[in-house]
Amino acid sequence: MSAISPRSTRPRFDVNGWLFVGPALALIATFMVFPVLHSLWMSFQTGLGMRLSFAGLKNINRLFNDPLFFTALTNTFIFFLVQVPVMLTLALVTAALLNNPDIRFRGVLRTAIFLPCVTSLVAYTVLFKSMFVANGLINTTLINLGIVDTGIPWMTDPFWCRTMIIIAITWRWTGYNMIFYLAAMQNIDRSVYEAARIDGVPTYARFAFLTVPMLKPVILFTTVTSTIGTLQLFDEVSTITGGGSAGGAAGPGNSALTLSLYIYNLTFKFAPNFGYAATVSYVIVFLVAILSFLQFYAARERKA
């Protein structure tokens, strides 16, 4: 199989090859792989704080009897299944529209849509909290426009709370993904489009049959990174729904409790149980690994 692949004509990894990848691999080994293995070792231990003892598979057993873990798992999947497709579709469509050289103010529009991802977390949080309070800007506007009669219970109803979080993440990251698509589209040879246009291929078909297939590597890339980001979702849920003086729920009825937030709570908010927290974090590792594999696999299938 490798014999017929075009890559086999490339040079073998020699001294040069190692010099190119060496520094990155050495750093990743020291600051990622080693701590990850350490944390794997910790996942076989249990106890509070420094009073850890070997527990074997006890933590995995605890996982299956932990209702909060299942709440967090369900919530994480809801966010993943709804948010990632919505955001990436929006980003791709926006990028395609903006890539048309006939559009006026392209630079301004592109800059504007990218802006959200340069905000700091603090600003963004204060902002969304104040916009979505019961008698805040969003509800007032919706009532004035006659879209709803009474304010939407953003902070007190699980469905609306999750919706709000999805809106917030989508707001922040759509422009970011759009930039990847735009950059990739700019590398596509314009003459292909021109030829298709002259042949009378309609806009949507050019988008579906020319742009999307050519963007496949980038689409795969953004899908994988967004999957990783959403499965590790922490910042937004923690700061937007965070509040109370001691414990407090993560959104109404823990509707915004994600796996990462649960890990954080187990490590820092609750009496620290590092072993169990490490076990939960490996659940994320497995989920991401499986989903990324499926995505790579799906992308390969289409190529054939």
């Binding site: 009073r51 007190t156 414990g247 959104g251 908010k269 609750f270 009496a271």
Partner: protein, 417 residues
Amino acid sequence: MNRKTVALAFASASLIAITAAQAAEVTVWCWDPNFNVAIMKEAGEIYAKTHPDFKLNVVDFAKADLEQKLQTGLASGVADGMPDIVLIEDYGAQKYLQSFPDAFAPLSDKVDYSGFAPYKVALATLDDKVYSMPFDSGVTGFYYRKDLLSQAGFQPADLQDLTWDKFIEIAKVVEEKTGKKMMAYDPNDAGLTRIIMQSAGGWYFDKDGNLAIEGNAALKAALEVVQKIQTANIFRPAAGWADWVGAFTGGEVASVTTGVWITGTVKSQPEQSGNWGIAPIPKLTIDGATHYSNLGGSSWYVLAASPAKDEAIDFLNDIYGKDIDFYQKILVDRGAVGSLLAAREGAAYKSTDAFFGGEPIWQTFSDWLSKVPSVNYGTFTNEVDSVVAAHQPDLAKGASVDDVIKAIDEQAKTLVQ
């Protein structure tokens, strides 16, 4: 975390102690720039007057950030870069003391605890040793808008000995007469539940720190009140802290029931001066019910591995343990009610406040402080609290309190281990 690393960390820390004995710089971690950070700096200046070599380095972080740093530092056993003194919220005291044995220095040999509010001492005691220098109190009060309540036909005298049922009745009248809700309430926060529960001497745990959800009369009564408040719809829903604060500073609600540390915030609206009053919080009708409770509050702890441990303890004991004048100053400047009972004999505590219609509110609060029922916050308050908060919306939907307690108990059991 193996013992060897810990031992090594402690050994290296004591090595540093020998070399650093000359320069007594004490580093403190705390979290509120307008409150405990400013107060700690003030304390440092006072102490430096009699101890010219003393240098205090106060570092402020967000509270959640500080807890995270502290927990990472303690867990990794790296003494490097840890503070000498750290502020810990009272609910988390036992969590730290039990999770990181030997990480904090016991102070009971140096400090006379008989002068402090008993509940503050009890919460930092482990195996007969006390580890904290008690700091601010979260003694609770019922802050109400005199103008709105009198418009609804209630005078201050009518509000001194309320039950929660009476409170809800009044709330309905207030809304009818003034169009304003009685209170702001965030159903995702269990603060009010904790206040009511502790007022009757109950907590999520029994005196020995064991989980006590089912059969806990105080918790049950508190959840019943919370359910009545929600179903009677006497509250303006609040989303998070800032929104909750905005509700009463913005004049949207007629009262707020919370810890004394809110006084400064209430007073941040000068145009409402003279319109506010305080009363004891409403009471439950079960055995052991009182008008006194606590919300939040925090204390100072000294790290055992600190090279400047002795200076730190001496400093805390001199200022926070004895200096009555210091307590007057932080009361006037910052609205901080300390838990040293002798401080209430000072002049500032006897002063009256025009904002509250000339009432001696500080004297009143410190009287209530000495009556707060002491409970065992245990190791897992935050765990159980997050479960309780998650179930409060069910109460609004009409779930029976017994069912909710059963559900809380089930979830709490898996978390508390």
